[in-house]
């Protein structure tokens, strides 16, 4: 009976989160990413060229994973859905402006950073085409920050934290939160490089842009970390098998037999 009650609570929790995600997304303001046409052509091309090798590498690791373990496709879809949802959430922040999480940390830890360069780019493409958020010319730059730099940071931070503290939840939280911060730091660098200030040059511009994004982003980074841990907890509770396949959990639990 108690077990049944527990599962009701879990279901309610899932419904609650889904509902919160849907309702929270309603604010129609623009946020984040470099807008269409707002990088000079040279820089726009440059970031495209930087991004494409990562995209190709991501496609390869994506096909390799799905060929070796077709049962992981569902988990892959979950990682994609997670970024898809989180990038739709414009959350108000202490600076009085809105921004959104990226959600790339979860997938990067689960599947490695390469996979996220594909999934992240798909989310960016969707938003650029349908929502006039971000843009096609700036897609390369935005993908480098959100789909390459963030996931790589998440992957590295997760493994570093895990080795130092052996606490998986903490590692997951830090990976997601810091990846989010880094994404917007990279965006600031990209803008600063393209628009150096008359006096003070790139550094002065960087301080300016980073001031806009970074402070807004801190509470959002924390939110992103918490939401990532939430999904991670569900996975750890309900899908040990896949996590074992991905070597994220040591195969010591006896319930592995099929």
């Amino acid at each position: 009976m108690i077990k049944r009650q527990n599962s009701y609570i879990r279901l309610a929790l899932m419904a609650g989160l889904s509902g919160y995600l849907v309702i929270g997304s309603a604010a129609p303001v623009q946020a984040m990413h470099i807008m269409e046409g707002f990088l000079p052509p040279g820089w726009a091309l440059f970031w495209w060229v930087v991004f494409l090798p990562f995209f190709g590498w991501g496609l390869r690791s994506l096909t390799r994973i799905t060929q070796a373990n077709p049962e992981l496709k569902l988990l892959l879809a979950l990682a994609g859905a997670f970024t898809f949802v989180l990038s739709a959430l414009k959350i108000p922040s202490v600076t009085g402006s809105c921004s959104h999480p990226t959600g790339t940390g979860l997938g990067a830890v689960l599947f490695g950073p390469g996979v996220m360069s594909v999934l992240g780019a798909m989310v960016l493409l969707f938003q650029a085409l349908l929502l006039a958020h971000g843009g096609l010319t700036t897609l390369g730059a935005n993908a480098v920050s959100m789909a390459v730099a963030g996931p790589f940071a998440a992957y590295g931070i997760y493994h570093l934290t895990l080795r130092l503290t052996r606490r998986q939840g903490l590692a997951m939280f830090l990976a997601a939160a810091l990846a989010n911060l880094l994404t917007y730091l990279v965006t600031s660098v990209q803008l600063a490089l393209a628009f150096p200030a008359e006096s003070g040059g790139v550094m002065a511009s960087l301080v300016k842009f980073a001031g806009i994004f970074a402070v807004t982003q801190i509470p959002l980074a924390v939110s992103e970390g918490l939401l990532t841990v939430l999904v991670w907890n569900w996975l750890r509770t309900y899908n040990v098998t896949d996590l074992e396949t991905l070597n994220l959990i040591k195969q010591e639990t006896p319930r592995y037999e099929v």
Partner: protein, 112 residues
């Protein structure tokens, strides 16, 4: 497994609190997008800069764009809930079939 539950509630509460407090604390703010501020900063640094490319499609109104954003979140959240629910069902039916070794569980099934 059991220790996760209160933990999860706290996570949800913390996220809600983080989103709600700015609305309560920062009263007279516009809550516009951070990239609009970036746009303003760009024109401040280089007043003559003109965006050289326009979005191919722009949502004709705030309502339409909120519709699109809401559908994006709905699609993602729906898929997320489906996958987690599937995993949960799977793990529950697994643990049930393990406990079915005892004859008691058989007699609990109502006859059809």
């Amino acid at each position: 497994m059991k220790s996760n539950k209160p933990n999860n509630w706290l996570l949800v509460l913390a996220v809600l609190a983080l989103a709600a407090t700015p609305l309560l604390l920062v009263r007279n703010a516009e809550f516009g997008g951070a990239d609009d501020r970036a746009k303003a900063a760009i024109t401040e640094i280089q007043p003559q800069y003109q965006p050289w490319f326009q979005p191919l499609f722009e949502p004709p109104s705030g309502e339409i764009s909120s519709l699109l954003f809401a559908s994006q979140a709905a699609l993602g959240a729906g898929l997320l809930g489906y996958v987690i629910g599937l995993y949960k069902g799977r793990s529950e039916s697994n643990s049930q079939s393990h406990s079915q070794i005892s004859p008691q569980t058989h007699s609990q099934n109502p006859p059809k």
